[in-house]
Symmetry: C2
Subunit: 390 residues, 2 copies
């Protein structure tokens, strides 16, 4: 199996970007990634694009050739991958696997979503398409509702985690303040979070991730191309990838306080990279809600089951806390332009492993992990990145 | 590279299926494919699902886990692949490539679309999401309009093909009459086709494919599993796959009377299968409009450029004509439930290579090809199937 390297990264600022269309976002982030790779764009052989719902949010499907035409590389094969909020991570996995298998040497992977200032569509309806329409969305179930059920079940099994959830939000806002690409640029204190109105008890306003516009792209290359560009490009290895699945419905799952899809994806990714959770220096995990962060950092093996909340309260997930989580600000404060999220998580890890993360730089990290979840934990993609030995 | 085999096939009837939901269609076709494979469903390791637009047509995205939960195999990784009308063919290609690379030994590939009797969405808007929204759909361009421009340009380069287009429709209806799964079950004569109202000059009512509900699934296996089940299962090899791309917009293409995406995909698939166009015994090609069939059978190398129409008028594409095209009835008369189409084309070829095509059986075919196009020829997938030596 061939090795895979990230040769270039590019992303837009995340936010409510009134003046940017979906195509504008793709153009900006795609061009940055190609430029950063030091490769001529004609070297790109295929494109894998994560997009959750351009169709309901703007009448735009078929994003593979939309991306290639926008970036003026339209004579190559391209496809859209959709797995709800894990669309970006899964596009990256498909691109990495295409290189691993020897199919291509240079691929573009990316994701984009335009969720605000649209001319068509309804955001709430569009987001609900990530769950089962017939059995869930059409009855009025929402994602805050689903994750509130998960949180309440978690509280019953492991004790109340409301304060830990709030502290996760506080840390996310602190980190986002150090990230110029982040949507949310204000600190909050724990009392503000705890006294905010409920969206779905026990999930309050500050426990929820954001509605965002944004795009993120990467150029992935094989070892052969990596050797060629190594003098000028700043390479990071994609050392392991895992893809797990579970029932689409909440009711169809055996366990909702530990996600089967995460366990599967993590186990594959750790095995492929030849590491364990203890080797991971920092991670970007899918905090669509603060309770999800707690469950994820336990499922990934960073903390024992039921102890994720305590670790957050102790400051262990802060940038200098020993096990930094979501140094970018996460979905919670960096923002969540759905299809772009999985790629953007990887870009944060690449920046950290390149020591280019500025004010939020973790001290000399060697191995980073991203965790990207889709729907009510029905899809999970875990990716492990390694810094190259100098 | 590992070899790939079709072990099981299953599809619903195509049509306006008032009493069937999207989930019903998936359940029926998926269960048939698994049963036909003779494998226990627990052997399936991953699922690749082609769906064009469940989101605008029914509020349903995230079709990977929708399929796995519906078929009670929900603990495996699954994803939706979207490339407009080529979504099904591309899901098949991704599944086949996963086996070729050694990632899995047993995968489910399939496609489904519910286009009629919906509770949400608008079909015309949903279909238009396969083109560029900002530059094309929002200005009022439609697919019949796009392919009318293509037809008129073709007429200018190669002469009027209106009668050949009509004859393609007549043959498609004749073939569909012999296919119990086909939506259209009536013969038409050439005068009826030629005198039908125009949708977009020169494309008349009978030059257009259908709006349909339907699902189609296949179980693909590696050589190792193929050897194990060979005594009981009826195997066909997936001998070659190709994926080509072009600009999303009509205006962005260098040539609109020969499709670059088809040329690329065909060249890859022929090379991988180690054959040429002359070796192909029959083909299912993407006849979204009758003019498209003419262009496709030229681009695939079955007939010289500009001579596809004459071949149709001479009866050479009929079941007994020497180069049978769309024995199933094609998109034109079998129907076009978009995400299912690419898989269903493959099922027709498998039935023919198994000598199970009933009244429409071609005499002893050994090699069949499918051609699945997305949008205004912005994506193409070509797949080559080989009968096994007895």
């Amino acid at each position: 199996m061939n090795r895979v390297f990230v040769a270039g990264i590019g992303q837009t600022k995340f936010g409510k970007l009134k003046d940017k269309t979906l195509t504008d976002l793709i153009e900006e982030a795609g061009a940055l990634a190609i430029q950063d790779s030091t490769l001529a764009k004609e070297r790109i052989q295929a494109a894998y694009v994560g997009n959750f719902n351009g169709q309901q949010l703007g009448g735009q499907g078929h994003l593979g050739p939309l991306v290639t035409e926008t970036l003026e590389i339209s004579s190559i094969p391209a496809m859209r991958i959709e797995a709800a909020c894990a669309s970006g991570g899964l596009a990256l996995l498909q691109g990495a696997n295409a290189i691993r298998s020897g199919l291509y040497d240079v691929v573009l992977v990316g994701g984009a979503e335009k969720m605000t200032h649209r001319t068509t569509g309804d955001v709430t309806g569009a987001i609900a398409s990530a769950m089962n329409y017939e059995l869930e969305a059409s009855t009025g179930l929402s994602f805050p509702g689903s994750f509130a059920l998960i949180a309440n079940r978690y509280f019953e099994q492991y004790g109340d985690a409301k304060e830990a959830m709030a502290q996760a939000a506080v840390i996310a806002h602190d980190n986002a303040l150090k990230n110029p690409h982040a949507q949310m640029q204000k600190a909050v204190d724990i009392d503000t979070v705890l006294s905010a109105p409920y969206i779905a008890d026990p999930i309050g306003l500050y426990d929820c991730s954001l509605v965002s516009d944004g795009a993120a792209f990467m150029v992935l290359v094989s070892e052969k191309v990596a050797e060629e560009i190594r003098p000028q490009a700043s390479l990071v290895e994609v050392a392991g990838s895992g893809h797990g699945g579970d029932a689409l419905t909440l009711a169809g799952k055996d366990n909702i306080t530990s996600f089967n899809a995460t366990l599967q994806a993590a186990s594959q990714a750790y095995a492929q990279a030849g590491i364990t959770a203890a080797d991971v220096d920092l991670a970007e995990v899918h905090d669509c809600f603060t309770i999800t962060q707690i469950i994820n950092i336990e499922d990934l093996g960073f903390f024992p089951k039921g102890e994720g909340g305590a670790a957050i309260l102790e400051g262990r997930t802060r940038i200098d806390g020993g096990m930094p989580i979501n140094t970018s600000g996460g979905l919670k404060a960096k923002g969540h332009p759905i299809g772009a999220t999985g790629i953007s998580q990887g870009i944060e890890i690449v920046l950290q492993l390149r020591n280019q993360a500025g004010e939020r730089q973790v001290k000399n990290p060697r191995i980073g992990l991203t965790h990207n979840l889709g729907g009510t934990a029905a899809t999970c993609v875990v990716t492990i990145y390694k810094a190259l030995d100098q």
